[in-house]
């Protein structure tokens, strides 16, 4: 830059940029880690119990939207009930979360009963009980051996699923996963990194369906639809509660799990038995009450808001709690 005017103008522009970002920083409120207090004005079904104030709970969750929404719902509800609440909604896979609750890092987190049974306790998919209550009881019994306990299940259940583009399914005449026999060798499968080890994922597809794929590429969970859309993946591991399946049903389909390798799991909140005792009866009561409204449709709506409309999980959770009358 040769003359002073140009230089001055350039410096001004950049200083403006700096102040802009500082302004964003200063005016910004912390939305990411804290839970919004939903029960400030009261008037909701959850009433704050001052005795709970002595207890601090750390609510964890795995790091994909549905889990984060659940974590936020529980965290905000418990806060409304008068507990001191912290959140750690980025735990990674189920094994990390399991470790975290066992070691006391977190107070509890929401787990799918089917995942707990197959991943933690080595139960084969066909032995996973079909109903929500039996699966819950079996999981609870197993958790008890580790000093953990589980709270009753949510109304909705979610399962892994093998999905593909509608176009692909039509071309290859795919309705069920077994239809992939003979074709899977030329198809690529994309899934989460931990899918490789899970019996309700790649490991199960290989073992129970006897399928071999051309390739398996681990990608972040958030990319599971993108890789199908861009034609990089022939098949992708999806979740049955995904909002994309209803909002974009003309694009994506899931193949029927005819051999029942992917059991559906209701959410059960896992926590240390000692934590539950110390926290008092409101701990379990609040969680069970607040998840009563989580039907499949409601969960899908919340998933849609966060995954499709990029709302923050905290905001979506707050909206649910308010709409369902739990918080004022």
């Amino acid at each position: 830059m040769r003359n002073t005017t140009q230089r001055a103008r350039a410096s001004l522009a950049v200083l403006l940029a700096l102040f802009l970002s500082l302004g964003v920083a200063a005016c910004g409120s912390n939305n990411d880690n804290s839970t919004e207090s939903g029960g400030e004005e009261g008037g909701g079904a959850i009433v704050s119990n001052p005795a709970n104030d002595k207890v601090t709970l750390t609510i964890g969750s795995k790091n994909f939207p549905e889990q984060e929404i659940l974590g936020e719902i529980y965290a905000q509800a418990l806060k409304a009930a008068g507990y001191k609440v912290k959140s750690a909604l980025n735990l990674g896979s189920e094994t990390v979360a399991h470790q975290a609750v066992k070691s006391g890092q977190i107070s509890g987190y929401p787990e799918y009963a089917s995942t707990a049974l197959t991943s933690f306790f080595g139960i084969e998919p066909e032995e996973v009980p079909a109903g929500a209550q039996p699966a819950y009881e079996k999981a609870k019994a197993e958790f008890e051996k580790e000093g953990l306990t589980a709270f009753p299940p949510t109304p909705f259940a979610s399962a892994n699923a093998v999905g593909t583009l509608k176009r692909t399914a039509e071309e290859r005449n795919l309705k069920t996963i077994s239809d992939l026999e003979g074709q899977s060798e030329e198809m690529s499968l994309y899934g989460s990194p931990e899918c490789r080890q899970r019996i309700d994922c790649l490991a199960g597809l290989e073992k129970y369906y006897g399928l071999k794929f051309k390739s398996f590429t681990p990608v972040d969970i958030s990319l599971r639809y993108g890789v199908l859309e861009k034609g990089q993946a022939d098949l992708s591991i999806l979740f049955t509660t995904d909002p994309q399946l209803s909002a974009e049903k003309d694009k994506f389909v899931i193949l029927e799990d005819d051999k029942h390798v992917f059991p559906a799991g209701n959410i059960i909140f896992v926590t240390k038995t000692s934590t539950a005792e110390k926290a008092g009866p409101d701990y379990e009561k609040t969680i069970v009450e607040v998840q009563n409204g989580l039907t499949l449709l409601v969960m899908q709506e919340l998933d849609a808001r966060v995954e499709l409309e990029k709302q923050s999980p905290a905001k979506a959770a707050a909206a649910y709690l308010k709409e369902a009358g739990y918080t004022g």
């Binding site: 950049v14 940029a17 964003v24 079904a45 009930a81």
Partner: protein
């Protein structure tokens, strides 16, 4: 022990959401931000810009600490090595290694010692900054024309006075150049802090499903670059201010 639960009696309505809670969604009616190929969604940006506040502050914090610590240590080391020439080669070699090791690897190498979180990030980034500034400081000091030093000696200045009143001022451009490079690089590198729970703008790029959300990535990346350029220009201004004799020779 907590008293008996005081949840209100469940009314028939509690737990049920109204019809209006559900929004009909089809491929056509999805908003801008639902599409992975849309680079920037203005409406979402307007609504959610304040969610970038804390990450930006965290980012600035990481950079500020790293650069200040790195500069302080580098400067001290450079002064030390200036007199004791035997230190120069080993110091250069050590800092060279630090530079070569990619910062992200450095984060993880530090993990057993400092654990996850901000501290590890700051240590790693300080080391990186240190290397750049140290190299520039020693080069700057070495490049001081001996004529200037001789003249000063001739005028009767002590070694110490020569250092502070002749050598350092002449080495400033080189030092500040190093500071500029280090700061800009550090701002970019601090985005990787998200991988070890260090916060920063990286959380708006990698965390929470942002991987498929270009708007968030663009805003976070844009803010990072804006911060980098701002610092660069501020430092450039500082350099020009401190070395008035160079303003005529456009550097």
């Amino acid at each position: 022990m907590a008293s008996a639960a005081t949840l209100a009696l469940p009314l028939a309505k509690v737990g049920e959401v109204g019809e209006s809670f559900f929004h009909e969604r089809t491929s056509e009616t999805l908003p801008c931000q639902a599409h992975e190929s849309h680079l920037f969604c203005f409406d979402w940006a307007k609504e959610n810009i304040d969610s970038f506040g804390t990450p930006t502050l965290q980012h600035l914090e990481l950079v500020a600490f790293s650069v200040v610590i790195g500069f302080a240590v580098a400067f001290a080391l450079a002064l030390l090595a200036h007199r004791r020439l035997w230190l120069q080669t080993p110091l250069l070699a050590t800092t060279g290694v630090i530079y070569t090791v990619p910062s992200i690897a450095f984060f993880f190498l530090l993990l057993p010692v400092t654990g996850l979180g901000r501290d590890t990030v700051i240590i790693a980034l300080s080391a990186y900054t240190l290397q750049i500034i140290y190299r520039n400081a020693t080069t700057g000091l070495a490049n001081v024309p001996s004529a200037a030093k001789d003249a000063a000696r001739g005028m009767g200045m002590s070694e110490r006075q020569i250092l502070w009143r002749v050598e350092l001022p002449l080495a400033v451009p080189e030092i500040v150049a190093g500071l500029r490079i280090a700061t800009v690089s550090t701002v970019a590198l601090a985005t990787l802090a998200v991988f070890i729970d260090g916060g920063g703008l990286g959380a708006k790029i990698y965390g929470r499903g942002n991987l498929t959300f270009p708007t968030s990535i663009v805003i976070a990346g844009g803010l990072a670059m804006a911060i980098a350029f701002a610092f660069d220009l501020i430092l450039l201004g500082a350099q020009r201010y401190v070395t008035p004799w160079r303003r005529t020779a456009e550097a």
